[in-house]
Symmetry: C2
Subunit: 412 residues, 2 copies
Amino acid sequence: MSGVLILSVSAGRLAAPADEVGQQVAQALLAHGLPVASRQVVDEAEPAVEAALRSGVGTYGLIVILGSGGGSGGEIVRRVLARVTGARLILNERLLATLEALHARRERPLPRREERLALLPQGAVLWSVEGGEPGWLLETERSAVAVLPAVSPTLTDLLTRHLLPFAHERLGREGVLVRTLKTAGLTPSEVEQRISPWLGSGEDVSVSCVPVDGEVWVRLAARAASLPLAEAALRDLEGPVADALGVDCYGRDQESLEGVVGRLLRERGLTLAVAESCTGGLLGHRITNVSGSSVYFERGVVAYSNRAKEELLGVPRQLLVARGAVSAPVAEAMARGICRASNTPLGLAVTGIAGPEGGSPAKPVGTVFVALAYPGGAESRQFRFAGGRESIKWQSAQMALDLLRRWLLSGR
Amino acid sequence: MSGVLILSVSAGRLAAPADEVGQQVAQALLAHGLPVASRQVVDEAEPAVEAALRSGVGTYGLIVILGSGGGSGGEIVRRVLARVTGARLILNERLLATLEALHARRERPLPRREERLALLPQGAVLWSVEGGEPGWLLETERSAVAVLPAVSPTLTDLLTRHLLPFAHERLGREGVLVRTLKTAGLTPSEVEQRISPWLGSGEDVSVSCVPVDGEVWVRLAARAASLPLAEAALRDLEGPVADALGVDCYGRDQESLEGVVGRLLRERGLTLAVAESCTGGLLGHRITNVSGSSVYFERGVVAYSNRAKEELLGVPRQLLVARGAVSAPVAEAMARGICRASNTPLGLAVTGIAGPEGGSPAKPVGTVFVALAYPGGAESRQFRFAGGRESIKWQSAQMALDLLRRWLLSGR
């Protein structure tokens, strides 16, 4: 086993939103064809760190340790690593000078407690970057251990200048590449059917179907004696699989649905406004997560109450009474209303029941309508989503964005 | 080392949003005082699973394996676990019958490939629940391994009826309890100063400061010979620390700022509308993530363009020109405007520069104003947040919610 283990040492985060920095490092390594085998979060406590390192050293070719940024986590890592590898902790003068310089810049002396962070296991090599906290590397016979500051703004520099070149040299004799093709609007079994000729694991390539919230990913992996060979194998595989998925594949790897929709809106020079009910602002939030979205996103309204649907979107009261707020005609009236109010060519609307309350036999929790208004018309689609409140909100926003994406691609 | 390792086996998720199910299980165990030491995600590939299990068995007292829901992940886990523990795989008739019954309900025969999932390592005990996929348990001398379906709706039942009682019995001789006190509006060093008398790790209790996006948590941990003793130690610690944090502590453990604000609004029978610019819908999204929020949340508008600020919120054009859209008077005018438009007593507004473009020397990226309008007045606060676009959006929504929380607590 020669893969990479990414180990985040983190106080009190075991039940919290997970290790974003660990994900970021995993992404960078995978994008460069390096075989990330595992990502692990351990509590910032000596026994937990020791258990992870005792089992990891000798098992993985490279272990990347990301500290929690606090001083005590760094101390624990140093102590445990010295014990596990049998190395003594010695003062690294260059590291001490760097830490002192960093503190001097902030016009504070180095606290005594932080001085201990200049102790490194004997044989450790410092990875320095301009103006930031350095990382360091300890190589043992079977594993290399890189320790990086997780909250430092210099992490990107450390990755590019030190970790990636080192990892390529240490692990790069074999190439592994992974590609994710992302689909929207298909069920997992529909995707499996489409890609059935390629599905499964072989010696050198594997194709699998990964259902995630509101969408399905197809994961392609290629392994070969070198990175160029793996690249060629992946290319040969990706072409026909992508063809089989067709327009249902909206993007690959790190692409998001809101990013793809934004690119299409820019290309066609169109502007958009949104009218949300059950998504409560999530649709606008996702659209505006894309940098530069102010060019095409004009406004949004969250018309949670019926009164707001009437006042802000001009949905006729008799329509709300006759068909209910969660219905296709109301969704379309919301989409048309936001176009009219904002003077944009495109209007996207969502109305539904996110639950857990508010369902009825005729319209159970998860019933959602999305609608698009465009010059000369409007159309809507009905869904019945499973899951909790946040998952239903997410899937609703997903299908609204996908409705818009398909319209933009249709060239109408 | 006798803690718990939660191991998620997951195809293609190493660089993706992390293991929500693993977090959920960690949360459940920690809430019951069980010592979760590590959470790990491994690729759904035989070498990666084998490395994790070879190192985990004998290291952790209990390993909880969460499958990816696909059949191939389950097969790999069975094969590797049999190899690592030296057990043979044998057909479990009860499991086969259960799997066949589950498929029959969906009116599909059990596929040949899935039959292999009825093979379990010799000595494994089935954990059954009504109407869902079962889990199973394999006990070895030094570690117990529980294998649970990660995507099954029966996971909650499996946790309550099987995993928690078993974990208590196997690990519960010693009690470890963790409590998180969550603060808003303070910097990490302000929090450290407040709690300095307790900060640090002792034999039995530890107190640490955990900075997360837009807020700072204080983590209290107590370890004792039994759970009741740990509870008493935690109680003795929590009282004075919570007093030192005062009104800056908004909640504990799983409480969210939007949940606390929702509870206060309900208690006072008040309704709310929001006007967002740079947060783009995130504020409404967070407020409506709380189940039952339709009682107090009337509407929101995302006034991304200046025209939308004029039309939807009645912000005077000359104010936008003279002071700029990102300014205290515009924030307050937005808050007053949404109150007027929605006829709610409370209006919350955000305007700012989320970046990466749009900054200027006078108003750099991260400059944000939040404002609250209430009966008889309005007030605003200015911030300069660090971080990327999504982090600035999150911190802005956080400070807007906190402004409202403090007003609601003030009893005005």
